[in-house]
Amino acid sequence: AQSVTQPDARVTVSEGASLQLRCKYSSSGTPYLFWYVQYPRQGLQLLLKYYSGDPVVQGVNGFEAEFSKSNSSFHLRKASVHWSDSAVYFCVLSANSGTYQRFGTGTKLQVVP
């Protein structure tokens, strides 16, 4: 069975501070992992993806994520957040033989001055 858990429904950080959004997954096969972002009143866009290899993957706008097989995690990080990063972030899982992707419930990020 496949599942994705994002334990934090909301996260508030100050502009310029570092960020970590948590994601835990459960997969019976080799996991393919993604982070998507949804800006207000828009569709979803891909931030980054992990298929294999280097466990730290770089994405757009300074985001990165680290895959940990031992912890079944794929946390998203950013060194310094900007107010424009305020959005909802989704962690997404697909098995390598998967026919579709399973979304977490999302984490709403609010960046305050």
Binding site: G43, L44, K49, F90, V92, A95, T99, Q101, R102
Partner: protein
């Protein structure tokens, strides 16, 4: 750039009414999806398809039908709409089931 177009963008219907949501992709993708987004649930898969004439059941299919008429077009049908189907609906496409998914801008459906 990959494109997924949904119509209408907003729809209000009455309980028991019929609604059809349309989606067209110009990405030449094999897979197309219908999701609903509700607070506290994230995106939940209703139906998906991996080619014209194909239909697969997702995680929350009850009360919904779908049809993939061509590689480009995927429709979601609500034949007896209920207030519980008030939601934001997204159509999406991807080349394979485990590759990047491209989303439309969404359709906000209200059932009164």
């Amino acid at each position: 750039e990959a494109a997924v177009t949904q119509s209408p963008r907003n729809k209000v219907t009455v309980t028991g009414g019929n609604v059809t949501l349309s989606c067209r992709q110009t990405n030449s993708h094999n897979y197309m999806y219908w999701y609903r987004q509700d607070t506290g649930h994230g995106l939940r898969l209703i139906h998906y398809s991996y080619g014209a004439g194909n239909l697969q059941i997702g995680d929350v299919p009850d009360g919904y039908k779908a049809t993939r008429t061509t590689q480009e077009d995927f429709f979601l049908l609500l034949e007896l709409a209920s207030p519980s189907q008030t939601s934001l609906y997204f159509c999406a496409s991807s080349d394979r089931g485990n590759t990047e998914v491209f989303f439309g801008k969404g359709t906000r459906l209200t059932v009164v």
